[in-house]
C-alpha cells in the first residue's frame, strides 16, 4: 500500500501568508499525479511537505498506512528527483548512482545489482564510466533519475525536473519519464507550471491557484469540464477565449449577446441557464480555439452561431493555422483552423462557433454554470 492521503493540509508562514490552503486529496498507488499552476501557487511547497523538507502546519499526511507528519525525509520511502545539476561532478555515473546507498551502508553486492538494474532500465549502461561533464543534458537527467531509482522508493517526487533542458529534449524526456513510470510501477508526484507537460504526463492533474486546489481530475475532465474560469483558461493551448455578454430570451430561445454578435444557445444548455436563473444576467462565454470553425459545411449547418470577424494575424504552422481575430468584444479571439484553409490576414470572414462545446461562467464567482459533478472521463 503506497498511496498517499493529504488530509486537509495547510502551510502557513504567518497569519496572512498561507502558501497552501486545505489541500485535500487521495493519491492512488501507482498514480502519476501532476501539480500544475502559475508561479507562486504553492506547488513546490506542497511537494516539499510531502518530502518532509517543510513542516506541515496543519492537517495529516499519510503514506500508505503510516502517518508521516513527524517522520524525517529519509524514513518516508520517497525519492526526490531534481534538475540535471544534482550529480557529483567528480564521480562517474556508476559512483553517482551508488553513492547514496553507500552512505546508507548497503552491502556492495546489492549496490552493484541495483545500480546495474537502474542503468539497464534507463538505457545508460554504456555511460557508467563517464563523468557528468562528458554527458549531454538528457543523459545527466537520466542519471539523476537513476539516483532516485536505486532507492527502490515507492513514491517519486519531481519538481520541474526538466526545466533545465531545451524544448526538444524536454518533449523527449517527458515521454521517457512516462515510460519509466509504467516500468517501475511507482507513485509519481510531478510538479510543473507547464500545462502541456501536465496534460501529456498526468493520470490526474491538480490545478492550483494562490495556494488553493481549484480542481483535481483527469486531463480529459479538466479540458472538457473545467470547474471555473481559471481552470478553463489555464488548461489548453492556445487558451480558451472568453467573451463577456448577456443572456436574454427571444422568441422562446435563449440568446447570448455581445458586441457584434448574437448566438442562440442550444435547448439543453438553455434549460440549465433558465433553471439557474441566468436570463437577463451578465456572463462570460468560453469557447476553445478549436471549437471555432471555418469549414463551409459547418457554417451552413450553424446559422444561429455565426460571427463576422477581421483576421488580424494568421499564423500558419503547416497542419494548422492560428487566427487572431478582431471584431468581437474588445478582446482578440483566437481560432484554430486547418493549415489548408487559405485564410489571409486582413480578410473579413465568417466563422461558426460549435455551440455544443461552449462554456458559460458566472460573472461574479467565475464558476462554470455547466459544470457537471458526475462527469465521467473518457
Amino acid at each position: 500500500m503506497s498511496g498517499l492521503r493529504l488530509n486537509h493540509i495547510y502551510k502557513k508562514y504567518g497569519e496572512n501568508n498561507i502558501a497552501v490552503k486545505d489541500f485535500h486529496l487521495d493519491i492512488e498507488e501507482k498514480e502519476f499525479l501532476v501539480l500544475v499552476g502559475p508561479s507562486g501557487c504553492g506547488k513546490s511547497t506542497t511537494l516539499r511537505m510531502i518530502a518532509g523538507l517543510e513542516d506541515i502546519s496543519e492537517g495529516e499526511l499519510w503514506i500508505g498506512d503510516r502517518l508521516v507528519n513527524d517522520i524525517p525525509p529519509k524514513d518516508r520511502d520517497i525519492a526526490m528527483v531534481f534538475q540535471s545539476y544534482a550529480l557529483y561532478p567528480h564521480m562517474n555515473v556508476y559512483e553517482n548512482m551508488a553513492f547514496g546507498l553507500k552512505l546508507r551502508k548497503f552491502p556492495k553486492a546489492e549496490i552493484d545489482e541495483r545500480v546495474k538494474e537502474a542503468a539497464r532500465i534507463l538505457d545508460i549502461e554504456h555511460l557508467l564510466d563517464r563523468k557528468p561533464k562528458a554527458l549531454s543534458g538528457g543523459q545527466r537527467q537520466r542519471v539523476a533519475l537513476g539516483r532516485a531509482i536505486v532507492r527502490n522508493a515507492k513514491v517519486f517526487l519531481m519538481d520541474e525536473p526538466l526545466s533545465n533542458l531545451d524544448a526538444k529534449l524536454r518533449v523527449q524526456m517527458r515521454a521517457e519519464i512516462s515510460k519509466l513510470h509504467k516500468k517501475l510501477e511507482t507513485t509519481v508526484i510531478y510538479v510543473t507550471h507547464d500545462q502541456t507537460e501536465a496534460m501529456t504526463m498526468g493520470d490526474r492533474i491538480v490545478v492550483m491557484k494562490l495556494g488553493e486546489v481549484q480542481q483535481a481530475d483527469t486531463p480529459d475532465a479538466l479540458y472538457n469540464n473545467p470547474i471555473n474560469m481559471f481552470v478553463a483558461g489555464f488548461i489548453g493551448s492556445p487558451a480558451m477565449n472568453f467573451i463577456e455578454g448577456s443572456l436574454s430570451e427571444k422568441a422562446g430561445e435563449v440568446v447570448f449577446s455581445a458586441q457584434n454578435m448574437e448566438l442562440v444557445i442550444p435547448a439543453e444548455r438553455a434549460q440549465v441557464l433558465k433553471s439557474k436563473g441566468y436570463i437577463g444576467k451578465q456572463v462570460s462565454l468560453g469557447i476553445r480555439p478549436e471549437d471555432i470553425h471555418d469549414e463551409p459545411a459547418f457554417i451552413e449547418a450553424s446559422p444561429k452561431s455565426l460571427v463576422k470577424v477581421v483576421v488580424e494575424v494568421a499564423e500558419n504552422l503547416g497542419s494548422e493555422m492560428y487566427l487572431y481575430l478582431e471584431g468581437i468584444g474588445d478582446q482578440t479571439i483566437i481560432a484554430r483552423v486547418s493549415g489548408r484553409s487559405g485564410i489571409k490576414e486582413n480578410e473579413t470572414i465568417q466563422l461558426a462557433l460549435d455551440m455544443n462545446k461552449i462554456h458559460m461562467f458566472d460573472k461574479e464567482t467565475e464558476s462554470s454554470i455547466f459544470f457537471n459533478e458526475n462527469y465521467v472521463s473518457k
Binding site: Y13, G14, E15, N16, N17, G37, P38, S39, G40, S44, T45, R48, A51, G52, L53, E54, D55, P72, P73, K74, A79, M80, F82, Q83, Y85, A86, L87, Y88, P89, H90, M91, F99, G100, L103, R147, H193, Q195, L210, G233, F234, A239, Q331, T332
Partner: protein
C-alpha cells in the same frame, strides 16, 4: 578524532590508574588531561575565534596561533553558509563533511558554527566553471541525502585571513534577507541582495519616507496584485514573460497594472517607478515580518 579516542582511553583507564598511582603521579595525569582540554585543535580554535568575532559587534580579537598552517587562511576562498530549520533532522556535521568532500573532491574546511549553522570554505578555483549550477546541484544533493530543508548563502572570492569574520556576517545577512524576500529560492549569492539589505537597515521612519510607502500600506493591495507586481519585477518588467509565468492573458496583466497605477500612482512600466515599487515591496514585506516575528538580528 584521534584526540577523542585518546581521551576516552584515558578516561576508561582512570579508575584503575588512580588506584595504582601515587599522589604525585595522579596530579601529573590530571594536569595532562587538563592540557588536552585546554588545547583545542586548530579548526576548533578557528571556529571559536570566528564565533567570538561574529557574535559581538566590533569585536577585535587577534587570530589564534595555530599549530600548523591551516588550509584556507592563506588562500583565496569561497565561503558557503548552510542553515537548517530543524537540526534534529540532519545527519550531523561528520556526514555533511563526507558529502561535501565527495561533491567537491578538493581540500576544504567545514566548521559547525552552531547547532544549525555550518560554514564551508573552498579554494576559489574549485568554483570557476558554472559555479551557480554547481551550487544548485549541491543544494539538491544535500536536501535528498543529508537532511530536510537547507538554505545556503554563497560568498564571492575573498582572501580568507583578511576577511573571514566580515564574510560570515555578510553571509548571515544575505541568508536572512534571502529567506525573507525570496523564500522559494534556497541558495543566495552575496551581492544579489544588496537592495534588500539596504532597506533592512533603514529605520521604520526612514522607510516611511520612501515615496508612497504609507499610502501603499493603506492601499492594502491584495495577494494577487502583490504576486503580479513581484513577478513583473522578477521577469525584468517584461509583459509577455510575466503573463506567461502567471498564466494570464496579456490583457489581464495590462488591466492589473493599469488598476495598480490608478490606485497607487505608480506606473511600473517605467523604470523609475518599477524601482520604487521594488523598494516598497521589500519594505512592506519587512514590516509584515517584523509584526509577526522578532526583528531580524542584524549586526554591523
Amino acid at each position: 578524532m584521534k584526540k577523542l579516542a585518546y581521551e576516552q582511553l584515558i578516561q576508561q583507564l582512570q579508575p584503575f590508574l588512580k588506584s595504582e598511582l601515587s599522589a604525585v603521579e595522579k596530579q601529573q595525569l590530571d594536569r595532562m588531561l587538563m592540557q588536552w582540554n585546554d588545547h583545542p585543535s586548530d579548526t576548533e580554535s578557528l571556529k571559536n575565534w570566528l564565533q567570538a568575532m561574529t557574535r559581538t559587534p566590533h569585536a577585535n580579537l587577534p587570530l589564534p596561533i595555530f599549530k600548523a598552517p591551516l588550509f584556507p587562511l592563506g588562500e583565496n576562498v569561497v565561503a558557503v553558509l548552510f542553515s537548517v530549520q530543524d537540526s534534529s533532522r540532519t545527519e550531523g556535521t561528520q556526514q555533511l563533511e563526507v558529502l561535501l568532500r565527495a561533491y567537491f573532491a578538493c581540500e576544504l574546511l567545514v566548521l559547525e558554527l552552531s547547532q544549525n549553522e555550518w560554514l564551508l570554505l573552498l579554494p576559489a578555483p574549485t568554483m570557476y566553471s558554472d559555479g551557480k549550477g554547481m551550487i544548485a546541484g549541491l543544494h539538491s544533493i544535500l536536501e535528498s541525502e543529508w537532511l530536510g530543508g537547507v538554505r545556503m548563502s554563497v560568498s564571492e572570492t575573498f582572501f580568507a585571513a583578511e576577511r573571514l569574520p566580515d564574510m560570515v556576517n555578510r553571509l548571515r545577512q544575505t541568508l536572512h534577507a534571502g529567506a525573507l524576500f525570496a523564500p522559494q529560492v534556497f541558495v543566495y549569492f552575496a551581492g544579489e541582495y544588496e537592495l534588500e539589505l539596504w532597506v533592512m537597515q533603514l529605520s521604520e521612519e526612514q522607510r516611511n519616507r520612501l515615496p508612497g510607502f504609507v499610502e501603499w500600506l493603506q492601499m492594502e493591495a491584495d495577494a494577487e496584485m502583490v504576486l503580479t507586481l513581484q513577478q513583473f519585477l522578477a521577469h525584468g518588467c517584461s509583459m509577455s514573460e510575466t503573463a506567461k509565468a502567471l498564466h494570464i492573458h496579456r490583457n489581464t496583466l495590462v488591466y492589473r497594472l493599469d488598476k495598480f497605477k490608478q490606485d497607487s500612482g505608480f506606473d511600473v512600466r517605467t523604470f523609475e517607478h518599477a524601482m520604487h515599487v521594488k523598494l516598497l515591496l521589500i519594505a512592506l514585506k519587512l514590516r509584515q515580518h517584523r509584526q509577526l516575528a522578532q526583528p531580524p538580528n542584524l549586526q554591523r
